[in-house]
């Protein structure tokens, strides 16, 4: 693979949502859901995107699957003919893109159409893109259902989502995402609605299928403990910005950004004897509505000073061995 095996190259990606715009008036107020995010995802790795609700992680996922169009910046996706900016895709090229990028959603009760059978749901990407003959499609669906552990597959084909448990539904959703053999899958909190015992098996299944199908994951989650097990690298988002990025274990054990430190010390630990560091930040996440040109974390940061107040949001800089941090005080 050329380009050092980079599969997705996100450059200065921004997404602004207008607020309170009417039919005939243009809004002057914008929510900066994602602002100037750059990230490279290499072929075969799994990147975890963590942050609190409203930090822009889901918006990033939607931009990557082109459910939303970016306001600025580009997403270059590696294809046979070299990198292509997905925002420019139209028609046939768009359909080809749909075969290569898929998504798994958070809520297994809402992400499957209640009026479609499991067969119809899993075969939908094949049907709408006209891949294979009817018989081939069916073989493929059966094969996928077996792969995600729904056996015997044909006993599931003609059942409806409401006849399945949460874990089984999420397996169906995984099968649907993988049925077109994609290279890149955006998984948006795929296990947050599942119970502990079921969650582990779905996490393990996703790991197994990543090797089997040669899939690259962007794993979006608010649960850092889960992200630890699902990702090789970790990107921490705060108010539309990536504030820290690096090898998962490195970030967990040596967090550099004050926000990451606070976040990690707030995560409860399943060990009553463990003593956590106290959380030092105050206040709560607000919406990034027309943010001032300074560090997004300024109001809550224990290290904030005059320099932070007068300078724009700090750039994401390498602090050795691929550990990037966006802070003036590191």
């Amino acid at each position: 693979m050329t380009n050092n095996g980079v599969l997705v190259d996100i450059k200065h990606l921004s997404k602004l949502f207008p607020m309170g715009a009417g039919m005939f008036q243009r809004s002057k107020v914008f929510v900066h859901a994602v602002s100037d995010v750059s990230l490279r995802i290499r072929q075969g790795e799994s990147v975890g995107l963590v942050g609190e609700s409203g930090c822009g992680k889901t918006t990033t996922g939607k931009l990557l699957t082109r459910l939303l169009d970016p306001t600025a910046g580009s997403i270059d996706f590696q294809t046979k003919d070299g990198p292509v900016d997905i925002a420019t895709l139209r028609g046939k090229a768009m359909k080809r893109f749909r075969r290569r990028v898929q998504m798994i959603f958070q809520d297994p009760y809402e992400s499957l159409n209640p009026r479609l059978t499991i067969n119809d749901t899993v075969a939908e990407p094949l049907n709408v893109q006209g891949i294979g003959s009817l018989v081939e499609r069916e073989d493929r669906v059966v094969q996928l259902l077996e792969s995600v552990g729904l056996t015997p597959a044909h006993s599931f084909l003609f059942r409806y989502p409401h006849e399945l448990s949460g874990g089984q539904r999420q397996r169906v959703a995984i099968a649907r995402a993988l049925v077109v053999n994609p290279n890149f899958v955006v998984a948006d909190e795929p296990t947050s609605m599942l119970d502990v015992s079921v969650r582990t098996s779905v996490m393990q299944l996703m790991g197994k299928l990543a090797d089997e199908f040669n899939v690259t994951y962007l794993y979006i989650t608010h649960d850092i403990a889960v992200a630890r097990y699902m990702s090789d690298r970790l990107a921490v988002m705060y108010l539309g910005k990536i504030v820290e990025l690096g090898d998962t274990e490195e970030v967990l054990h040596h967090p550099l950004h004050p926000y990451t430190k606070a976040l990690l010390s707030a995560v409860p630990v399943p060990d009553p004897l463990h003593k956590r560091n106290p959380v030092v930040i105050k206040g709560q996440v607000s919406k990034p509505v027309n943010p001032l040109p300074r560090c997004r974390f300024y109001e809550r940061c224990p290290l904030a000073d005059k320099f932070c107040e007068t300078h724009d949001h700090p750039p994401l800089e390498d602090h050795g061995s691929g550990h990037y941090v966006a802070c003036y005080h590191v």
Binding site: E52, S53, S165, G167, Q168, D195, V196, S197, V198, R199, T200, S201, M203, Q204, H222, I224, A225, V226, R228, Y229, E249, L252, A262, L263, L264, S265, A266, V267, P268, V269, P270, D271, P272, L273, H274, V279, I281, Q284, V285
Partner: protein
């Protein structure tokens, strides 16, 4: 142990829901004791009967639910046979509750102050208006909220603030016991951490008993002194938190511990617990956990294990506690 030390005693509580397909035993023969000033955790997966226990403790059961057997002693009084009128005086005054969805447990058309005051009006009729106002201000400050916010409507609060308001409301009549049913499920970690710390602090400060209910064992580890583990309507293990986390005896508890990811310590392989929790309409015979249990033998399929004390203060319902072969 004398009666007064045990603020709450649950004995052989059995409760079922009548459904069109037959009775669902959501709580089956559950016994435990809560001491004064102690915090207890109830942990289990969805549908294991945690919330049903909470609702039984307040006797706030839906129409199709019925307590079939057992006793619930609050301060020495069995509330199971009590009339609705008599229960009204016990609720909130002796035992109050923080519900799972704070978003929905506040009435959207009244101010938060209104909703706190109305309970105080009924339970503390001799309190003057000024006393009530200063008490609410105090409660707000204790819960970490600005008292100026009390005259706002619930929709003007953020998720974390709303849950704090609900905690303030639960404490308004100085209850002996507070049940918190998944109080932080919808919250972000930093907000969750703040709220849990606050609740723990208040519980110690006011010497209340608390019952935390959660599916998240990490949260339970943070807040409780003793823990009960529920599986399919049964309590399978009950002991001190340290015992449960470091010396679990029931195979289900052991499986839960090794399936739960943590951000500290070595990254160990998570162990998958095969299968899914049973359908309570048709639970498996014998031990309810046997179809998923790696240690199951023939006796597990036939006879239900007794919930008994294997070590001092460590109760387990299993034929092979600790996984050893019997």
């Amino acid at each position: 142990m004398s009666m007064t030390d045990n603020i709450l005693e649950v004995k052989n509580l059995t409760m079922h829901y009548k459904t069109r397909k037959g009775p669902v035993y959501a709580v089956d023969d559950v016994s435990f004791v809560v001491r004064r000033g102690e915090s207890i955790g109830l942990v289990g997966e969805s549908g294991c009967g945690k919330t049903s226990i909470a609702l039984s403790l307040m006797k706030l059961l839906p129409d199709n639910a019925e307590i079939k057997a057992g006793e619930i002693h609050i301060n020495g009084v069995d509330i199971v046979p009590l009339s609705e009128r008599a229960l009204r005086d016990i609720r909130w005054k002796q035992i109050s509750m923080v519900f799972q969805a704070a978003m929905n447990s506040l009435n959207p058309v009244y101010t938060v102050e209104d909703q706190i005051k109305e309970a105080m009006h009924y339970h503390l009729p001799r309190m003057s208006d000024e006393e009530m106002n200063s008490k609410i201000d105090n409660l707000f400050r204790m819960a970490g909220l600005d008292p100026a916010m009390k005259s706002q409507y619930p929709h003007q609060y953020s998720g974390g603030m709303r849950q704090r308001a609900v905690v303030a409301m639960a404490l308004s009549c100085d209850p002996n016991i507070v049940i918190a049913d998944e109080p932080t499920t919808a919250l972000d970690v930093i907000v969750q951490d703040g709220l849990l710390k606050k609740m723990r602090e208040l519980q110690r400060q006011l010497n209340m008993s608390m019952i935390y209910i959660s599916h998240d064992i990490a949260v339970i580890a943070e807040v409780s002194e003793r823990v009960g583990v529920m599986y399919a309507g049964k309590m399978v293990e009950f002991s001190t938190t340290v015992n449960i986390f470091h010396h679990p005896m029931h195979p289900y508890t052991m499986a839960l511990m090794s399936a739960f990811p943590s951000i500290v310590g070595e990254k160990t392989e998570l162990v998958v617990l095969p299968g899914e929790p049973p359908d309570l309409l048709d639970p498996p015979p014998g031990c309810r956990f046997h179809p998923r249990c790696p240690y199951a033998t023939s006796i597990c399929k036939e006879k239900e294990p007794e919930f008994r004390e294997y070590e001092e203060g460590h109760f387990v319902a299993c034929w092979h506690p600790g996984g050893e072969q019997a």
